[in-house]
Each structure stands twice: as structure tokens, then as C-alpha cells.
Assembly symmetry: C2
Homo-oligomer: 272 residues x 2
């Protein structure tokens, strides 16, 4: 799977992911808390953008966070240590070949990971095999096709399309958020429930203007500039006009909308 | 303003608007209730799709519902009478030339109206002049640019674009929902607060699959078929493929997303 990721591996990207987690933490994570004594697998923790929140919201749970990248794991561990949390252990592993016994976890947590995988249903199936019957899985993903804004701009839509196209070429799907329900069903999970988490930003919400529209979404799109131009997906002038138009939506009178999707499902219990 | 409306004037359209109100009534209206004795202007009531809900949720308020179409008013009155409600009076008038004294209403309610107007800020300004200082305005609009779905389909997006384009040619804006905040600010309202109301539909929500994806949204887009073909905006084959693709999103494994926007604002009080 290495090389198949569009973002998360460069220092600026790490900072952006951290900004994202800081801004969106309540919206995405406030309703996830695991019981004392439960074992939780965080699959694909990356640089730990979500790990600190996960560990803090479930202080009595034992969390195992895995990622394929040793460098990312090192950053994630530093974050967790700096936060004074002691309920997380880290392990380097591929999500398709996790070194754990079947049915050894009570819960699985997967955030911003499926978007990078060419076989998300298989990944969910692999995670399901690690869950005990009756255990839960929580999946959180964004969806770049959910972004719209005022003033509308064809150039801005084109710049976003570059990110979607690069992620597609890398084997991922930047519009996966809307698909969480059918993906969990296809992987054989029960009691699937998906709830959208819309981020709505207008001038009355300066924290989100800064933290989401500018520093999270537009910074992410801006981050693919060189790759998109090198891949000849876009002309530099059009891309740059698109980025300016995205920043314009963060000025007075502008509006920006984006939706994350959070799915929770269960692995069926066995009946005697 | 007659002739400038894309929908709401044909029997099937009336039925669709009624279905829409029936399905979305809680999502859009449950947090709107006016005090006993207050006077409320419903500007652009159409066939009364929202009027019954409005009157029922505010039984002690005196509601004045106006529309430019005598035929629509007649249908609206029949609905209100059939519901046994007696707190609504109807009046035929143009939203830009309303026959009321300045500052004669405590509250104004405008739902699915601004999308049809070429000068929405002026309309809001005209309504503001009818509000007493300290009074409130409530604005609800959809946004066709907020529609996305799984499976994604270029043909479906094209069919939706036909509706947007026809509404644009008629002087309206089918993507006005996202603009409610800047429009209310531009019209000089204070304390503007906009909240998105996202409709998320997957196979676990059969009531919304039927009531929203099929009977509200897709039926609405399907309703512009002849106009779009006549206006040469689209080839019939492509449009029909788009409608099939929209219905596909209502089948098992499909997902449909759409967002309405509700804005509430105040007219500033005068200071002595």
C-alpha cells in the first residue's frame, strides 16, 4: 500500500491534518467513547491526528493504533506522549495483513483511511475478522464532492477535481464519504447507521473560516498544486485561479460547505 | 413576476410540493413557532404547502399569507380550511408591492420564494420595511448544487443542471440556499443565523427514499424534461439517462444527499 496515499506524509500535510483534527474534533468525535476495559483497534492512525482525541475520550480503553508508515507512527507516538496519555500502544502493520488474532478487539475505529484504499470493502472485511461478535466498527470519511461554496467558481471546482483525480490515480476515492453505508453493508456488517456531519461556514463563524475553509480544505487542495501540474491534469493559471476563488469564499459574504460522514456498525453476534 | 416561476403552478407540481412538505416538515419547520397574539406575514405562500404547518405550529398567531397567483391562493385556502385552521387570512399581492403598512408585522416567513426572484435582496428589503423593529424574518431555501449521490452519474448531474439553467433563465437561482447568510446581511438584517438542514438518504431510511429521493427531488427534475428539451439545453437521451441514474440512487446500495438552508434574522431595534 505504500505510495498509494495522496496526503499525510509531508510535514506541512501533517500540520494540516492536525489543524483539521483540532477544528473538527467535536463534530467528528464527541460521540465516540469506548467503555473501561474494552480493546480498540485504530486502523491507519497516520501521524496521530485522531489518536489523542480517541485516547482522551476513552481513558479506560486499551487502544492499539497501527499504521503502515514507521515515520507516521513515530509522530503519532510523540503526540500521545506529549498529551500524557498512556492507554495507546503503536504497531507498524499493513491494514490487509494485521498481526492480530481473529476476534481479538471489541471495537475498531477507522478515520480518513478508506479514501486511500483501492479495495475498501476488503479492508473492512479484514477488520471485521478482528472484531469479536457484537463488537462495533466506526468509520469516518470526508467527501470532496460535498464541497460547494459562494461565490461559486468553475475554477475552484476544477482545482478540487485535481485532488479527486490524483487520489483516484493513486487508487483511492476522495468522494467515498457518501458510500460508507453501502460499503459497510457490502462488508457484511449489521445495524449500519451513517450520520453526515456537515461543516457550514459563513462570516459569522470566524473560527471555521480560518480553521476549516482556509487552513483545512483550501490548504489541502493547494497542497496538490505541483502534482496536478506535473501530471498535466490542469493548467497552472486555472489551478491558481481556483485557489484564489476558494480563499474568496473565506472573505466577508463568502460561504463554504463540506460534509464528513460517520458510520457505526456491528459485527453480528453468533447464536447458540 | 408572473411567468418567472419554474414550478408550483401545475397540479402534479402542487402534489410534489405537498409531498415535499409532508416529508420534510419536521426537518424544516419544527423549530419555527410564533407567540400568541403575534402577527406573521407569510410572503409567497404558493399552494399552501407550508401554510398549514406554519398555522398549526403557531395556533395563537395571526398569519397573513400572500401570493401573486389567485389560483394558488385558492388551493392554499382549501388546504387551511380542510385542516380546520382559522388563524390564516389570504391576500393576493406582489412581494414587491405588498398592501400593508410599514412595520405592521412582528414576524415574516419566506419559504421557497427567493429562489424564483431576480432581485432577492430587494425583496428582503421590502419585507424588512413591513417588520416592526425587533421583529424576525425566517427564510428557507433549497440548493440544487448541494445534491450529490451514489452511484455518481454525469448524466444525473446534467439533468439537475437543466433545472438550474431553466430557473436561471426565468430570473431565479436554484443554488440560492448557500447564499441566505450574505443575502440577509446585504438586506440590512441583524443577528443573522443560518443553519443547514441536510437530508441524507440511504437504504436504511425507506421513508426518505420514497418521499424525498424519488417523489420530491427526482420528480422535480423529471418535471422539467419537456421544457429543457424544448429549450435545447439537453438531448432527450442524456436527460432520460440522468433521470434513470437518479432513480438508481433510490435502489438498494444507493445514497442521496441534499441540503436546505434556514436563516433567521432580526430587524434592528431603534434606540431612544
Amino acid at each position: 500500500m505504500s505510495g498509494a496515499y495522496v496526503h499525510g506524509y509531508h510535514p506541512q500535510e501533517s500540520e494540516r491534518l492536525q489543524d483539521q483534527a483540532g477544528t473538527l474534533v467535536d463534530l467528528l468525535h464527541s460521540d465516540t467513547s469506548y467503555p473501561v476495559g474494552s480493546s480498540v483497534l485504530e486502523a491507519g492512525c497516520g501521524v496521530g491526528a485522531q489518536t489523542v482525541t480517541l485516547a482522551r475520550n476513552s481513558p479506560g480503553a486499551r487502544i492499539t493504533s497501527v499504521d503502515i508508515s514507521a515515520g507516521s507512527l513515530k509522530q503519532a507516538k510523540a503526540k500521545v506522549d506529549a498529551a500524557g496519555l498512556s492507554n495507546v500502544q503503536f504497531r507498524q502493520a499493513d491494514i490487509f495483513a494485521l498481526p492480530f488474532e481473529p476476534e481479538s478487539f471489541d471495537h475498531v475505529f477507522v478515520c480518513f483511511v478508506l479514501e486511500h484504499l483501492s479495495r475498501p470493502v476488503e479492508a473492512l472485511g479484514a477488520l471485521k475478522s478482528l472484531l469479536r461478535p457484537g463488537g462495533s466498527i466506526t468509520v469516518i470519511e470526508g467527501d470532496h464532492g460535498s464541497a460547494y461554496f459562494h461565490p461559486d467558481s468553475a475554477a475552484a471546482r476544477e482545482a478540487i477535481r485535481c485532488q479527486v483525480e490524483l487520489q483516484r490515480r493513486a487508487g483511492g476515492d476522495a468522494m467515498i464519504g457518501r458510500q460508507i453505508y453501502p460499503l459497510l453493508v457490502a462488508a457484511g456488517f449489521d445495524a449500519v447507521h451513517v450520520s453526515p456531519r456537515m461543516v457550514y461556514v459563513d462570516s459569522s463563524r470566524p473560527h471555521l473560516v480560518e480553521g476549516f475553509t482556509k487552513k483545512t480544505f483550501t490548504a489541502m487542495v493547494e497542497g496538490v498544486r505541483d502534482s496536478a501540474i506535473e501530471a498535466r491534469i490542469v493548467e497552472p493559471e486555472l489551478f491558481d485561479a481556483g485557489i484564489r476563488a476558494l480563499y474568496r469564499t473565506a472573505e466577508p459574504g463568502g460561504v463554504f460547505c463540506y460534509t464528513f460522514f460517520k458510520g457505526v456498525a456491528e459485527k453480528a453476534r453468533r447464536w447458540a
